[in-house]
Subunit: 194 residues, 2 copies
DNA sequence: ATCACAGTAAACCGATCGGTTTCCGTTTTC
DNA sequence: GAAAACGGAAACCGATCGGTTTACTGTGAT
């Protein structure tokens, strides 16, 4: 347990991992024990367990996005950059212990769409759609808004498949996304003329 | 509370509804109270709560499939019958209180793919894929196996979107499925030549 | 009439739930 | 060096967890 980090950081880290691995119903005692933080400290850092759920989800957002989305600087085409997301998802599933997209899983478990954790989940799922949208605009796609939503759906569908089947995806997500991009006329190496 | 049904039926009914509405972490006390069944009866009808999860999921399977899949006897083309699944999903989401595909949600919540409930979930998700596969074979699709998986992914992706966004789908699932079928050359009114 | 069974209500078990509080040691601050 | 703040360990709260047990009621078969 890296005691170098602040209690808040340790808590957010442990919460991010345990809420994902065991579900949001894991107890705060187990959480605090894993973080090496007392319940007293936890409850003066966070108003409630619900707030900790939301904040731990939010704190992992940027890293999760960077893990999934290619950096801004590379010379790949929009299509390749989009497909890279599905390839990274494939890797995550293949590396084992994949339990679904953390945001979708949390929203599913919380049931209540107004729960602070659900709000955070909605926000970060929108960011993936926004990434797709930006790339599609760069590629000059005809209907980037619809297509971005469809790609996000394929991403979450692949995620659901990985959870239900509990086995590697074998590139089926990337293949489906590619088929959809083909149908929409977004081809390899293509950029908008503008 | 229809006391006409047997305790077993009442329990499976209440469990199917409450596990879906509140998640699998709902207590057995609440379950038994909703079913009007004593805990003693519950535990001589089912070995454990885990078994009740699996059996209630299984007992709802046939009705859920019939709700989603068109009956065997209709004159629609395979493509239309496939798209009908997505339209019914759209209706379910639009009617409110949609909390995702019960099988995916349960698998996500249980985390453990060897949990009896996860096994049942995997089985019934496969049945949807099988339905798509049958229709695709009828339509003479080139790669029905891959396409059936892709359609199932779109279905689950649309389901995830409905949960995360907590708003109607607006036909995006059917539109995505249609685009994929178009790309695969499965057109309206088309049947295999055989 | 009686026996057996099915089933409910409720007490009970140890463990855990989210959350609060007390106590005490350590570190920072002046 | 004294005082104040930080934070961990652990007791504590009422409620609930999954599961068992006891006690009692109603029913049908004989």
């Amino acid at each position: 347990m890296s005691t170098s980090a602040t209690p808040r950081e340790r808590l957010l880290d442990a919460a991010g991992e345990l809420f994902y691995r065991d579900g949001v119903n894991i107890g705060v005692d187990a959480l605090c024990k894993a973080a090496g933080v007392s319940k007293k400290s936890m409850y003066q850092l966070f108003r409630s367990k619900d707030e900790l759920i939301a904040e731990s989800l939010a704190s992992r957002g940027p890293a999760y996005q960077m893990l999934l989305q290619p950096g801004a600087e590379d010379d790949r085409s929009p299509r390749e950059r989009i497909l890279a997301v599905f390839e990274r998802q494939d890797d995550m599933v293949a590396s084992g212990n994949y339990l679904g997209c953390p945001y979708v899983s949390t929203a599913v478990e919380l049931k209540n769409p107004e729960h602070p954790g659900s709000v955070v989940a909605r926000h970060f799922k929108q960011q993936l759609t926004d990434f797709f949208h930006r790339e599609l605009v760069k590629a000059g796609a005809e209907d980037p808004s619809t297509l971005a939503i469809q790609l996000t759906m394929i991403f979450d569908g692949a995620s659901a498949r990985a959870v239900v089947r509990a086995q590697p995806l074998g590139g089926i997500g990337a293949a489906t996304a590619a088929a959809l991009l083909d149908a929409a006329g977004v081809h390899a190496g293509e950029f908008a003329l503008s």
